[in-house]
Symmetry: D3
Subunit: 276 residues, 6 copies
Amino acid sequence: MEPLYLQEIIARALAEDIGHGDITTDNLVDAQDISEGTFTAKAEGIIAGITVARAVFHYLDPDTEFTVLIEDGQPVAAGDTIARVKGKTRVLLTGERSALNFMQRMSGIATRTNKMVEMIRYQKARIVDTRKTAPGLRRLEKYAVMMGGARNHRFGLYDGAMIKDNHIKAAGGILKAITTLRAQIPHTIKIEVEVENLQQLQEALEAKVDIIMLDNMDTGTMKKAVEIVNGQALLEASGGINEQTIVEVAKTGVDFISIGALTHSVTSLDISFNLL
Amino acid sequence: MEPLYLQEIIARALAEDIGHGDITTDNLVDAQDISEGTFTAKAEGIIAGITVARAVFHYLDPDTEFTVLIEDGQPVAAGDTIARVKGKTRVLLTGERSALNFMQRMSGIATRTNKMVEMIRYQKARIVDTRKTAPGLRRLEKYAVMMGGARNHRFGLYDGAMIKDNHIKAAGGILKAITTLRAQIPHTIKIEVEVENLQQLQEALEAKVDIIMLDNMDTGTMKKAVEIVNGQALLEASGGINEQTIVEVAKTGVDFISIGALTHSVTSLDISFNLL
Amino acid sequence: MEPLYLQEIIARALAEDIGHGDITTDNLVDAQDISEGTFTAKAEGIIAGITVARAVFHYLDPDTEFTVLIEDGQPVAAGDTIARVKGKTRVLLTGERSALNFMQRMSGIATRTNKMVEMIRYQKARIVDTRKTAPGLRRLEKYAVMMGGARNHRFGLYDGAMIKDNHIKAAGGILKAITTLRAQIPHTIKIEVEVENLQQLQEALEAKVDIIMLDNMDTGTMKKAVEIVNGQALLEASGGINEQTIVEVAKTGVDFISIGALTHSVTSLDISFNLL
Amino acid sequence: MEPLYLQEIIARALAEDIGHGDITTDNLVDAQDISEGTFTAKAEGIIAGITVARAVFHYLDPDTEFTVLIEDGQPVAAGDTIARVKGKTRVLLTGERSALNFMQRMSGIATRTNKMVEMIRYQKARIVDTRKTAPGLRRLEKYAVMMGGARNHRFGLYDGAMIKDNHIKAAGGILKAITTLRAQIPHTIKIEVEVENLQQLQEALEAKVDIIMLDNMDTGTMKKAVEIVNGQALLEASGGINEQTIVEVAKTGVDFISIGALTHSVTSLDISFNLL
Amino acid sequence: MEPLYLQEIIARALAEDIGHGDITTDNLVDAQDISEGTFTAKAEGIIAGITVARAVFHYLDPDTEFTVLIEDGQPVAAGDTIARVKGKTRVLLTGERSALNFMQRMSGIATRTNKMVEMIRYQKARIVDTRKTAPGLRRLEKYAVMMGGARNHRFGLYDGAMIKDNHIKAAGGILKAITTLRAQIPHTIKIEVEVENLQQLQEALEAKVDIIMLDNMDTGTMKKAVEIVNGQALLEASGGINEQTIVEVAKTGVDFISIGALTHSVTSLDISFNLL
Amino acid sequence: MEPLYLQEIIARALAEDIGHGDITTDNLVDAQDISEGTFTAKAEGIIAGITVARAVFHYLDPDTEFTVLIEDGQPVAAGDTIARVKGKTRVLLTGERSALNFMQRMSGIATRTNKMVEMIRYQKARIVDTRKTAPGLRRLEKYAVMMGGARNHRFGLYDGAMIKDNHIKAAGGILKAITTLRAQIPHTIKIEVEVENLQQLQEALEAKVDIIMLDNMDTGTMKKAVEIVNGQALLEASGGINEQTIVEVAKTGVDFISIGALTHSVTSLDISFNLL
């Protein structure tokens, strides 16, 4: 995680929570009082965001000692100590909730992602995320997806070209859309087109597109798509794929499976923070 | 929703998504082209965030026409049209994902909240949220909780005093902690103390605390707490309460039930945006 | 004082004063030159803001040595040395005025506050501040009020509910207003109502409001209010109270006296900074 | 007042006051409800900041109607209506305090300034302000000084060169300091030197400095300074000058009298806001 | 040009220039005075930035009328009127310099770019820009390059993968570097590798890289590279290419020629602004 | 260079370049890997911006060792090592381009400035810069001008009064304009008037203006102006002066020659960064 970006996102989270002051802690705990605490997993999963939690405490006081016991991307069982923190009691009590809010959400993402990655571990297909992330937290969530063992799709509208139905209409056809984009966008960016049937797939292929997204296709059609394309473009399956359907989709032979639920429907990993 | 705050959070979300430009749309769609689109529910639930979605499009172009058909807080069935948007095609295509990211998450919160509110509709207890929100989005999420029919707990560390275990230790006892706070914090703020057993409850009561949080108590003990307190303080049940346990907890007679999962474990409501 | 907030407010103050550079100092004083200076009181009073002054110099150069001799909240006599500063001469000369601007204003607030606190030292009533603060400096000014020995009222419109005349009209009566708020705002926040006569007081009392503000009442009526309320709500006197009237108001038996002049009409404490 | 700067300073003031929401008004007043209110002077003085007050309401809602009856810089008597405001009741109630905080402080500055300006109306000397302003509000306060009929000294360390004692030491003498600055700073900026006695004055004069500040001199010495200088440089009197001493100082024949108290010790002008 | 981004960059430019106020204009020109002015080319070239100039005036006053006569990307001859502006005289005089600073620099870029584009008009090769832009102005400068008829390379380190010498060393070889990146970065981004000789080119080709940059090669070697690659990857020539060498480079048959000087060494196009 | 300002401008430059991450470096280079690199001049010139380059690396990692071998303002020959940098390889590779973008542009300005300064070394006239700078970079560019041996004109519209043609018209004549300004702006600021002929010059002189700008005059007229003014005001020559004309202009005896091209038409100094 890039430190510059973290500072800003943490400042925002703490400002939101602390406001004009932690009126309980500031009035009850001595400014010089020192404590030690631990983050403990209360369920099994994959950890992500421990570096963000550390940065939260360091933001409040750079002298806080933060010892990571389980690194981002590592599995954790209920009862495992994830990290130890030693520093001003005020800092520990004031920062605790924000640190947990980051880490629990990110670990929840990593955990679900990893579960799905494991389900298709022996298939060629790689799971990728989407732009369906909590506003303002995209980089953190995409990092958590990586920690769960999957890969990132484009980060925004700027680092990937994705031609959808409406773009095709506006441009006057798939070929026209691809040709126009190819002449306008940086040559470092690939072009992806979303197709709904095999005819569109054929058109996209003829326009020598880089990536074809198979949108909400049944797995039978997907298989045919894989045969037709035969390596001439990357194939990405998309559309409501979940734990029930992912194995079947992966078996069609597509290269990528994009799953919005990895980030739009997150169950936090249960983690607690306790002073010793 | 306060317009000033919305501007900032939307600017951030759009900057994150658009970066240096929507390279697909800007190169394929004419700047003057006009379209119309609709937001459609694909599952039943409670809508929240339609005002945020509108603000997203207005941020990109104040002349966008946005017609709300289903207001925040209203129920929606699969297939219902939630809103119509008419404006520059570029604005619609560029803003679509950000608008959905806000609205789907917020509606997901409102939907789950409402389901739990309905489960205890005939009990005295009121559901309240917690500080377990996605960093940077707390106000939106607490608004969604309200739209789901529940109430807000304190917004941060600054507008409510919550004495926890570690504060009690630091202060030297419950009575000491409450007395100290009472003399220091604004007289407009109530004091809440978290208790783990009936002895602590008794102490808190004698210190004339305003609110007592029953932390992870079984419902039998909760009932005794209700009897002991007998209206001398507000009682709040807390600790992993969910759809399975909420009715039993409500029946103990507590005043409030706080539920972190309302915001920390959200399933997005399925909503789609389509150009006509 | 919370360090994060200080950074921002100091950055703003310095940017305003330094602009594109301290053209006198930067061109006359060598970048490596070191000096020592002292802050000296030139009148008696209560010090507040010494931590802010320190932060000003640390912002310009973290290596500046700043030795506090008289802490915030302590009394000072004319001629007393308040703090010593040692560091780059440039930093001392460039930061001097901003440090003084903060400290003189805050000490002025603490000094006047303390004088009034002393006047009613043996009464029950506690002095509280208001929202009549210099825009952008509220937290600093409320901190100075604390250093003067008085207490803080709510920090803003968000952490206290204050029902005024117009709210009562809009809601359709005192009872209606209180009941509505009780059901909508977080249960951690108390409700205060502003009353202008004893009839309104009675209504407020029946609605079981938490705090009643007696707005511009004569002390005779205040006394009656104290008798009527008899501990069922907190009573706050308000309205142009000053050094001439505070003792009489305090003797009525009210719990709080709020005084806008503490922050809206401040005479700076005379403090000078001199290089040795 | 420059609109761009106003936006920022108002946003900050409102954020400080409103926080996550005006919990009283938002819950009691209907969003569409319209009211009208007036700003009324409760003491005589000079108005400054009416444009800032207007900008506060326009910031909250651009459609608010704001009719100025007494312009900035105009005198006002107790009971005079200064402005009328018509718009959303919520906007009026939420913005009222912030608008008053700006306007009362600025009008307080203009009022005291004007009183002193009047005292030396028939003298050559012009009153100027200093850098002793409330941090973050300097432009507003200097504007208020102008509205009071006095003039502005430099705005910061960047738009005027002021050689003080320590600069002289660092540079190695008055002549050396002036010569060095003359060769380094933009030729559009004048150089001012602070002198404590007539010998320093003589040196400054020989170095052909533009402005000489007579620091804490008695009026007898000031008179001699005026004679010696005889129009070869501008003369500025400084140091604790107030209503008691200003006339005598003005009579010495100096060109400018700088007065820190205009901005560092402000008594707010009493102004009220009432809904009709 | 995206309006949101423009606002921010213009605000910064104006703040830098206006500071606490345009002391000449504000004191000499009446606030209500209206004028009309024109932007006139004083040399021939290609216009870029007219939309930015317009946004500068609209930022200062949205009611300013700005009539574009020569659009971005269009050629201009000395004496041509580029745009007319009508609005407050203050706005015209205060904004003039900032508007020109943007437009002259951007038009200078477009003009030089276009000259080089014309030189190789009948070759396959396309000119692309680099990251050698003025800090904080990259988007504007890349837009100007587009207006000059050339294309954009990646916008930053985030939207293109460029493997240089040091990356190869760190990764342990070209193949390793490409394979690692392929497995880690979004599949929407192409991979470019910088090679210094034909052996490295061969390696890159075998690793199936998308784009190969020929770094500082003589045109003889470039020609061989074109033959070897034979369409299996895109070829980009780079390294100090200018007006003297571009034709020869283009004739080698490379696909792209990247030229840092387009943005790092800009001669402003001479444009004046005159009130009528 | 003031550190506070640098932080902000560097943060912006890096954000623009790094975006959501340096996807090449972050995926190929180990986070702990350490390297050393050098900045080398590839052409002769004057260095400016080495402190900015250092600040870029320190911003990314405060522990980076940066050894300056050639200070700002010093001459450099092709092949000279300007600075050595040792630190995390990631930091070196990610920061390299931004550091160079600052330093090359600033050194280009210093180099051209110095060349012109040398051309009139034995004349009285001093070269000054203008407001024709790259938006957002003015302070850096004016600093580079100083490093090249010339002087700074006003930094913006706020720290110098410059009466141009349109101001004269608005004010009703040169005398009126100067008198009005003299009574309104701080007495620390000089007044400059732009004249186009000797009659205007005479008027300005009679109004006792501080500085007279001779706008686009031929050198014959300039000489007459020098004779007429005879030291009663500072004289500044302006208008398209370049390497071809500067000596002749200087010989007329004017005090200052302002040259926009120093900053509006910059050729970057060729500097490279190489890992050892």
